[in-house]
């Protein structure tokens, strides 16, 4: 449905419909009232350089088929790595057997929200250059070049460089009649410079801010998408300044947070908190629950009135952007927080009726053929303000504070209340102007206090898309890639810690 990109011929050449027919009919014959088949292929490439020398390079191709069934109101799931019609039928029967074996443990009859049937649908993400069409040595050469630029600078003792790329292809078919084929690509380039003070036995680091993105190799190889030249040129002097910067004074502080840092705070304190499965306890023993429980939907003040947060599966270049989810539900966009009030959840086809809404908003995904789809995060983004407020304008409103750039350490509790984040660099703000870096900064808050202290958001011109490849959830553990857009934002009176003091130094 999008652009000129087509799904790769080798994936299209798989006997998709034959495998679906074999699995779905075997499931029905074995007693399933519903079944779906997913063929899931993921190609990944990992390149790692240390001080410009190749440390690791691995290309991986994973493929398999998964069958999910409902038998007498109970889920059953089985998967296999062999794409063969006999294996597909057998895997379907195994899924039915799993459901029957464990049925005694099920107290909630599974019902699926209705969704239109999509026959022979296909979708491809928006990327220009397939990273798997680029020879590995060419990719390594770019990382060598970028590493070399940093290593050549004064004060840079070591450089780590990495590139992770992925191409994900799925074929989905269910007993309602949908059959959907999709392909998407993502890239994650990262460089980190290290300066070592050998005498003191200590060191300081700074990483590039280039975000992972649902684009192709074009986001890595040159300055078309990201200003690599500018970033690599500035990084050494920023690192040198940071290593000599004064240690921060802990206490309540006004913060202007750059999108390169704020995306991760949004991910942890809003993205996960508005997952319905967490809110009703499905992750209680592992990833955790959420303070944003269903009784608070539509009434809880999540943050200040300038806070508007949207979940979006259709966002251009978003890592969680897709045509349809792993339950055949078409991608959508919806509100999670409007004017500061909690108004929406992320849902799948089971959770929609439980919440009392008629349709899933399409958040069911698995990270491999060998994992069952679970409710996963859409691109959750903070909306910019209506006026053209720049980052400098926000800084101009602060008498004494800190401007935080780049993400680094993150941690949040199992109900999404208490969080602590650090960053790549921290600039002191004095009388509305930046006044050099400080170091050893962490900010710590409780989610609703933090968003309640949101004083202003930047305009559209400050809005940037950040994200991660490694969002973890569920048992067995699954990872997902997701993007978060946000403007620069001003928060008043947030607790800043001095991490040296936190460590007892």
């Amino acid at each position: 449905m999008t652009g000129s990109r087509r799904i790769d011929a080798d994936f299209l050449a798989l006997p998709r419909q034959e495998l679906a027919d074999a699995a779905l009919s075997a499931a029905a014959q074995a007693g399933a009232s519903y079944a779906d088949l997913r063929i899931h292929a993921i190609a990944t490439e990992m390149l790692q350089l240390r001080d410009g020398a190749l440390e690791a390079a691995v290309t991986d191709h994973e493929i398999g088929l998964a069958v999910r069934v409902i038998v007498d109101g109970t889920w059953g799931f089985a998967s296999h790595s062999q794409l063969d019609t006999a294996v597909a039928a057998d895997t379907a029967r195994r899924a039915v057997k799993v459901a029957r074996t464990l049925a005694a443990l099920n107290a909630e009859r599974i019902e699926l929200a209705p969704e239109p049937v999509y026959r022979d649908a296909s979708w491809v993400s928006q990327y220009r250059i397939d990273p798997f069409d680029v020879a590995a040595p060419d990719k390594v050469a770019v990382l060598e070049d970028y590493s070399g630029r940093l290593l050549a600078a004064d004060g840079v003792d070591h450089v780590s460089a990495s590139l992770n790329t992925a191409k994900e292809q799925t074929f989905y078919a269910d007993t309602f009649g949908s059959s959907i084929t999709q392909q998407r690509v993502r890239v994650l380039p990262k460089l980190e410079a290290v300066t070592v003070d050998a005498a003191a036995g200590t060191f300081e680091t700074m990483s590039t801010l280039a975000p992972p993105t649902g684009r192709g190799w074009e986001a890595v190889e040159g300055d078309e998408v990201w200003d690599w030249a500018g970033e690599l040129a500035q990084l050494p002097s920023l690192l040198a300044e940071k290593s000599k910067a004064p240690s921060v004074i802990a206490g309540p502080t006004d913060l202007v947070i750059d999108p390169s840092n704020l995306w991760l705070t949004i991910h942890e304190s809003i993205g996960h908190a508005t997952e319905y499965d967490r809110a009703i306890g499905y992750e209680a023993a592992y990833a955790g629950t959420s303070f944003a429980t269903p009784d608070k939907l539509g009434s809880m003040q999540y943050g200040s009135p300038v806070m508007n947060v949207t979940a979006d599966r259709t966002l251009e270049y978003g890592l969680a952007t897709v045509g349809f989810d792993d339950e055949g539900v078409r991608a959508q966009s919806w509100d999670l927080v409007r004017d500061g009030v909690f108004v929406g959840y992320q849902l799948d086809r089971v959770f929609a009726p439980r919440l009392g809404v008629s349709r899933s908003n399409g958040c069911s995904y698995a990270d491999s053929a060998h994992h069952v789809p679970i409710q996963r995060m859409a691109n959750v983004s903070l909306q910019p303000g209506p006026e053209d407020v720049s980052t400098d304008d926000l800084i101009g409103r602060v008498a004494d504070g800190i401007y935080i750039v780049g993400d680094k350490s993150w941690s949040i509790d199992m109900q999404r209340y208490n969080f602590q984040f650090t960053g790549q660099r921290f600039f002191r703000i004095r009388d509305g102007k930046l006044d050099g870096q400080v170091r050893d900064v962490a900010y710590q808050a409780t989610t609703t206090d933090f968003w309640g202290a949101l004083d202003a958001v930047g305009g559209q011109s400050t809005w940037r898309l950040g994200g991660a490849f490694n969002c973890g959830k569920a048992q067995p553990g699954q990872v997902a890639a997701v993007s978060h857009g946000c403007p620069s934002a001003l928060f008043r009176g947030i607790t800043v810690l001095n991490t040296r003091e936190e460590g007892g130094r």
Binding site: G281, G288, P476, G477
Partner: protein, 473 residues
């Protein structure tokens, strides 16, 4: 599927036929996983997965330099083997020189079980656990409790949790005739019980699900929930704290992951010493604490050889098949070893050290009960969660307490306390520990996805740093 051994033979034969690589290493891993998950007293997800991963590593040598090409696939189609080998050789041909080049390891006789079929598992392995759970889901609030006597019966708790069983057989073969095989069973059961705002957790690792102590686990949950009948709110601060084995495991596992030799030599980890060099030889504590990994550790057996598809600070593809011995990372309170693949060991003139897939710490003899009894006023933790690195230069980690912080007064648990966010370094915890308990098998909570084989003592920390209060239950 054809047998994994056949995949090995086909790949090595194809590598020889194409002839572009000087050496070829083939790794085949056959994995069967069964999982069962529950929440709110009902099953939520389940499944059985059968998968195979084949890795072909081609090495091309020029003098003492070498180039490497690594390609991995989970396709079970025998037709892809030739493609994999060709792709691997092509990747090696165009790769830059590897920095971790080491000579080939000698071949040897295949192990006696090389040709044996690979074992599996399935959802039926959970039937024993599931039976206990089903009764628990239905009968917790009335009579008919789970554990006969005390435990959870009558409390009316809601159960959440997860059981998994993975049986993975790994084959390592080189064109030089090296053959190694290992079957690794990995299993765990975790149960979280919630009642009236209180939350408690127990977990155990079990390689075979033969004798999972459901009765005593449920008893423990009942005891812990009963401790929560009195709640005491405490502010942030430094507290005398008893860290039980699971929490010690989570902190020590992070330390072990950081104990790469190269990074320390380069001055870019917390194991770098002031003035250059590493902290090996530094005495952390006068307690006789020894932190080690050992493939032969009783009850925690794991692969006694290296098997890796990618090189890192701690491991090298050139070392595939190399024997892993016991390594004492900390011996009698002194930092004793860092991880060095063969190439890095040669470069830095240090012993080769490869970590096994388990972690143990010894050095104390008191039971946890005795440690509680010997506490005038302090905190007893249950598990830690969301541990992340805040300052790598000192290995300062942050994280949360989870599912039970208890107040100990005059030698007894007297109440439950709110959760906290902590900021602590595992190195500093070892430095400041004043007492170690007896070493026990334990399930790390935070890192349990990757690390289930652990045996740890409890530690008494006189001034554990609770940085702030978490409202989470």
């Amino acid at each position: 599927m054809i047998g994994a051994q056949q995949v090995v033979d086909l790949a090595l034969a194809e590598a020889s036929r194409l002839g572009r690589a000087d050496e070829t290493t083939v790794l085949v891993s056959d994995r069967v996983e069964a999982t069962l998950r529950w929440a709110n007293n009902t099953m939520t997800t389940n499944g059985e997965s059968t998968s195979r991963t084949t890795t072909v590593i081609s090495i091309m040598r020029q003098g003492d330099k070498a180039r490497v090409g690594t390609v991995r696939s989970s396709s079970a189609d025998p037709a892809v083997i030739a493609d994999l080998v060709a792709a691997s050789q092509l990747a090696a041909a165009v790769a830059p020189q590897a920095r971790d080049t080491a000579p080939p390891l000698p071949g040897g006789a295949a192990p006696a079980d090389w040709d044996a079929p690979t074992p599996g598992t399935g959802a039926e392995v959970f039937l024993g656990v599931a039976g206990e759970l089903a009764r628990g889901f239905g009968g917790l609030s009335g009579g008919g409790g789970l554990s006969g006597g005390g435990g959870l019966s009558g409390i009316g708790a809601t159960l959440f949790g997860y059981a998994r069983h993975v049986v993975e057989t790994t084959f390592v073969a080189t064109s030089g005739g090296l053959r190694r095989r290992w079957t690794q069973p990995t299993g765990s059961v975790e149960i979280n019980a919630k009642h009236d705002g209180a939350s408690a957790w127990v977990g155990t690792s079990t390689p075979d699900f033969v004798s999972v102590p459901m009765d005593s686990m449920l008893d423990q949950l009942g005891t812990r929930l009963s401790w929560s009948r009195r709640i005491v709110e405490l502010p942030a601060g430094r507290y005398e704290t008893i860290m039980p084995p699971s929490t010690v495991a989570d902190m020590m596992i992070y330390l072990a992951w950081t104990m790469g030799g190269r990074g320390a030599q380069e001055g870019r980890t917390a194991l770098a010493a002031p003035g250059g060099g590493t902290r090996v030889g530094e005495k952390l504590t006068s307690l006789p604490l020894t932190l080690y990994s050992d493939p032969g550790a009783s009850g925690l057996e794991c692969a006694p050889f290296v098997s890796t598809s990618s090189s890192s600070e701690q491991t090298s593809v050139f070392d595939n098949g190399m024997t892993i011995d016991r390594v004492d990372w900390i011996r009698e309170g002194v930092i004793n070893a860092l991880a060095y693949p063969r190439a890095a060991a040669a470069e830095f003139d240090t012993p080769v050290a490869a970590g096994a897939d388990n972690l143990l710490m010894t050095g104390g003899s008191k039971s946890l009960q005795d440690m509680i009894a010997g506490t005038e006023r302090g905190l007893l933790l249950t598990t830690l969660w969301y541990i992340r690195e805040v300052d790598p230069s000192v290995l300062l980690l942050t994280g949360l307490t989870r599912d039970g912080v208890y107040l100990v007064e005059d030698g007894e648990v007297t109440a439950a306390v709110n959760n906290f966010r902590f900021n602590e370094s595992p190195l500093d915890l070892v430095r400041r520990a004043t007492q170690a308990g007896v070493s026990e098998f334990t399930l790390p909570r935070e890192w349990g996805d990757w690390a289930t084989r652990a045996q740890m003592p409890s530690l008494r920390i006189p001034d554990f740093h609770m940085s702030s209060v978490s409202q989470a239950q």
